[in-house]
């Protein structure tokens, strides 16, 4: 057990925790936008898978990492458009249609993978970007400032999202539409327009989250995300619909996952118990949710389609 607490192990555990949080963070911050405007997108995981495949396939075929990211975002936008059309225009039951989108993404990403790739070949992700000076600091340098650009981007997204939601006229519209769409409508705010925008933004970020996962792991396979998108949805509740809260949740999740991984590698957790240990992050999330959800009120119009005069 003492082995675990050597500083080298600790540093690498925290560093890998940050890396593991990245994909959750993209997806959950994206989902925050949608939920704040009143739309629950349960299809996040499917969109992540399609984004992951899009990026992986692009890189595999020599398109380069940046083009891979653009492809993932585009895939996300297209899926977001379809999702918004279903939930906002057709006013489908969001809990159900989201599951449909998930299954679609799960199936399609696997189908494309089997048809177009077949054997999983590794790709190279973004190189480690050591932040000058900061990366040389003892301990924290290695922990926080020696990551790929995707990791930094995910964490930078948090203050940006908080700023947009709280300090801009668009953010005010988003918050109003999620609380009382009728009030927003009577002031000439386009409820549908705002919701299309947030759902598409959220889906683009989900696509990016998938791409981050695929490029960091350097691989794609069937069901690569293994439910990360659903966890992301739960993290939005955990974070009480605030980007900073969502980040706290993602970090907790990533760190616990990383600790479990490290303990397994070091043989501290016996092989026989490793499946159980893998459940730990999920159990933690559920517990945290129980506490968080009692404390916070969700956006009043969440999952409720809006129709003028109805």
């Amino acid at each position: 057990m003492g082995e675990f607490f050597t500083s080298a192990v600790l540093v690498s555990t925290v560093a890998s925790g940050l890396r593991l949080s990245t994909s959750y963070l993209f997806a959950a911050v994206g989902e925050t936008f949608g939920q704040r405007s009143g739309v629950l997108n349960l299809g996040v995981d499917g969109i992540m898978l399609l984004g992951a495949f899009g990026a992986y396939y692009t890189v595999l075929n020599g398109g380069g990492l940046w083009l891979g990211m653009v492809v993932a975002i585009t895939v996300g936008l297209v899926m977001g458009l379809a999702m918004a059309f279903t939930s906002v225009t057709l006013q489908a039951e969001q809990g159900i249609s989201g599951i449909g989108f998930y299954l679609f993404g799960l199936g399609l990403s696997d189908l494309l993978f089997q048809k177009l790739v077949g054997t999983p070949l590794p790709i190279r992700g973004f190189p480690e970007l050591r932040i000058p000076f900061l990366a040389d600091l003892p301990v924290v340098g290695e922990m926080l400032f020696s990551h790929s650009i995707v990791v930094y981007a995910a964490f930078l997204l948090v203050p940006v999202a908080a700023f947009v939601l709280n300090r801009t006229t668009l953010g005010l519209k988003i918050r109003s539409v999620g609380e009382n769409p009728e009030a927003a409508d009577t002031l000439g705010v386009s409820v549908a327009g705002v919701r299309y925008l947030t759902v598409m933004t959220g889906s683009a970020l989900a696509g990016l989250g998938g791409a981050a996962l695929a490029t960091e792991l350097g691989i794609f396979q069937q069901n690569l995300t293994a439910g990360q998108g659903f966890i992301a949805v739960a993290l939005v509740y955990f974070g009480a619909w605030r980007p900073v809260g969502v980040m706290a949740g993602s970090l907790l999740y990533g760190l616990v996952a990383s600790v479990v991984l490290q303990l397994k590698t070091l043989g501290i957790i016996p092989r026989s118990a490793s499946e159980l240990a893998a459940m730990l992050p999920a159990v933690l999330t559920i517990l945290a949710l129980v506490v968080a959800v009692q404390r916070e009120r969700q956006p009043a119009a969440l999952t409720k389609p809006y129709e003028r005069g109805a």
């Binding site: 300090r167 005010l172 609380e179 002031l187």
Partner: protein, 517 residues
């Protein structure tokens, strides 16, 4: 064009509105049937009509929330198409909706700024908004704190925010859909001061209400709608309460019921030094003692929030008394649950009729049977006797004049007046010994109000002891034998109807005792 920067002045006040031949159909209802309506600059024009007459529909058409099936709208003589609220705002139309359109989790300033461009482009800038709100507050007597969260505001304050929202957008015509339904008499006075100031500046105002004295008080002209059709437009100077009531209801209406003398019997409801806490945990009822005798109506007057609701709930068994005793027909029921109190002869008409009085998703029949469904003759050995239930419900619906398409209609699709009549039918069907009626006619139209008042007086003649809680002094003076005024959880005084006048009651409601006591 659609967006107005804070601080920009108006574009000259007032506009002339003409709505011609407006038709609006909903499935199965002709909500507006060729309605003509116009408003002039500087005029307060009331739209009067029973619930369901089509007033809100006409206003939603004006505000671009509904498209009319036929008809024309002209502003200052020019025909206009109003296809969205945004267009209505552009044209200088503001609306205070019957249900407030506020976002409770935002501040006052945020609610006002919503949808407007900011001087800082995409960035919110609430400081100038707050300043302009303060200017408008000052100019129109609309006290409100721009930084307060809307959910913390009283209903009256929320209404002021709504008016400021419209003024901020330079509304030249302001339509207020039943703005007084939720206000105390004092708040109504304040609102009227604001409305008169706006009209004096040239604003055009549409006022909707079905309280006749208010309408006569505030209007220049009055247009009456009935069942979606225009009955007529009269000048307020030529109108009388009785005449307006006749136009609204389509028949003679008895506005003041005859209160025949009734022999009072023994005390049926006795309250001794009762104390109770309010929803926020502070003491709301502070040692109230009252007695109501058989054949007597004791009314509790007071500005809402002075402990009346809590007292009614203590009597009904829905709120725990922290001190004192409650007796129904001589039995101590202080610790008894609502069912036990009912068994002793208590009936209760709650203030929040859709929350505490009825189940909206249930049918009319199910709501009528809520208390009695598990007792003979309606149920035997755990099985419901549907034939008996239907017979009973048909009789109640007919006796109490509940206008419903069928017994299987869901309760929530009835109008407020009919929901209240259905609750009354259920509560009075057992001929209760004690009746607690909280705001029995709030939000209810004249026809139903007349009917409910008559029923309460009938019940009095049959020996029921009634505790009536009302904020409507007209109602209290029409029905009560004695009047207790509550202020800050205490009874200020109990006066006989014969000695009561509005001035004295008003002083007591404000917490001022007669000199010498």
């Amino acid at each position: 064009m659609a967006e107005t920067l804070p601080g920009t002045g108006g574009r000259g006040h007032g506009l002339d509105l003409a709505m011609r031949g407006i038709v609006k159909r909903f499935p199965g209802v002709l909500a507006n049937d060729h309605v003509d309506f116009d408003v002039r600059r500087g005029e307060i024009h009331t739209l009067l009509g029973e619930n369901g007459a089509g007033k809100s529909t006409l206003m939603k058409i004006l505000y671009g929330l509904y498209r009319p099936d036929a008809g024309e709208i002209r502003i200052d003589g020019e025909p206009v198409q109003i296809d969205s609220p945004r267009r209505a705002i552009e044209l200088g139309i503001g609306m205070i909706h019957q249900h407030f359109m506020l976002v409770p989790t935002l501040t006052v300033a945020e609610n006002v700024a919503l949808g407007l461009a900011s001087p800082k482009g995409p960035l919110l800038d609430l400081a100038p908004v707050a300043r302009r709100i303060e200017e408008l507050s000052e100019a129109y007597g609309l006290r409100v704190d721009p930084g307060a969260m809307v959910w913390q505001l009283s209903v009256g304050e929320q209404q002021r925010v709504e008016i400021i929202k419209a003024l901020y957008r330079d509304a030249e015509l302001l339509a207020l859909d039943e703005p007084t339904a939720v206000l105390t008499p004092q708040e109504v006075e304040d609102l009227f001061v604001t409305l008169r100031a706006m009209a004096a500046e040239g604003h055009s105002l549409i006022f909707i209400s079905h309280k006749l004295h208010e309408v006569l008080d505030i209007s220049d002209r009055i247009t009456v709608l009935r069942n979606g059709r225009l009955v007529g437009t009269v000048s307020s100077a030529d109108a009388t309460k009785a005449g307006l009531a006749r136009m609204m209801v389509g028949r003679e209406v008895v506005l003041e019921q005859v209160r025949a003398p009734v022999e009072v019997g023994p005390p049926r409801l006795e309250i001794f030094d009762v104390r109770a806490r309010g929803d926020r945990g502070t003491e709301a009822v502070r040692g109230v003692s009252l007695q109501v005798r058989a054949g007597e109506i004791l009314a509790i007057a007071g500005v809402s929030g002075n402990g009346q609701r809590e007292l009614a709930e203590v009597v009904a068994g829905l709120r725990e008394a922290t001190g004192g005793r409650v007796l129904i027909d001589g039995s101590d029921v202080t610790g008894a649950d609502p069912g036990q109190r009912r068994a002793l002869g208590l009936a209760y008409i709650p203030e929040e009729r859709m929350r505490d009085g009825a189940i909206g998703q249930f049918t009319v029949a199910e709501n009528l049977m809520l208390h009695d469904f598990d007792r003979p003759p309606f149920a035997r050995h755990g099985f419901l006797d549907f034939a008996e239930i239907e017979r009973h419900c048909r009789r109640l619906v007919a006796d109490f004049d509940v206008k419903t398409p069928s017994l299987d209609t869901t309760m929530k699709s009835l109008s407020g007046g009919n929901i209240q009549k259905a609750i009354l039918a259920r509560e009075l069907s057992a001929n209760p010994k004690v009746l607690v009626a909280s705001q029995p006619t709030r939000g209810v139209d004249i026809g139903a109000t007349e009917y409910i008042h008559r029923r309460l007086l009938d019940q009095r003649a049959r020996g029921t002891a009634t505790l009536l809680i009302s904020e409507d002094l007209d109602e209290i003076l029409a029905l009560a034998d004695r009047i207790a005024v509550m202020y800050e959880g205490e009874v200020m005084d109990v006066v006989d109807r014969a000695d009561a006048d509005v001035g004295r009651l008003g002083l007591l409601m404000a917490g001022v005792r007669d000199s010498g006591t």
